[in-house]
Symmetry: C2
Amino acid sequence: MRCFVLDGDVLRQGLNRDLGFSPADRAENMRRVAEVARLMSQAGLVVLVALISPYRKERAQARAIVSPENFLEVFVDTPLTICESRDPKGLYQLARKGKLPQMSGIGDPYEPPENADVVWRYDEHQAGDCSALLALVLQRLQG
Amino acid sequence: MRCFVLDGDVLRQGLNRDLGFSPADRAENMRRVAEVARLMSQAGLVVLVALISPYRKERAQARAIVSPENFLEVFVDTPLTICESRDPKGLYQLARKGKLPQMSGIGDPYEPPENADVVWRYDEHQAGDCSALLALVLQRLQG
């Protein structure tokens, strides 16, 4: 089974290079990625989409675009304080200094999923433990 | 080997539904499709892109995006008079009535490729003979 990762940062250097971080551009970013995920899924690939996807409405739209029966929403449930303590790219620090006014969770809302198909809690797993995440996804598919 | 067809008409109902037929929108249409073809190619698929792609500059850009060593430009070389006599969607007729001012080859330029990797001449093959086209592509890959 072939898999492919659609990574938000990578896509913003290519397909979505013309988009910024306004709400409209974030929505368009998600719409395009959902369309690409749908095409890749039609081509027989399992697609893992790694985007911030902060808005509930656009996540619902992505599900509708890809097809509801062929879509799992994975919520990596991590409190803002933990995200800030990790801050691998230094973005939270920049946001707190006012240099990234549209940072999700700081100057721009992050709307947590209410009915995610898979929930990954930060305090139940090691960060980056992909096999544990895969196990959760498989559990969900079998359940 | 998995293949996938990226069809211009289909993509304009999805990924590119926000785009029209102005030169800027046509260029953006081609840019996005090239980016998607690149992603699919990275995922191990053979991608067949069926677009009008009327402008030389954007075809060169598409080649650069996908990667020059991984890209074949196929020119389906058919004179305008033959295209008009076929007119399966009635678009040429509309264009001649002035109802499609930006039709490629009528109101908007079609710039024929100068160095296509594969040339399919309308008078050497049956229209729609995919196996003959595939043979031309394979010849090119082996040559």
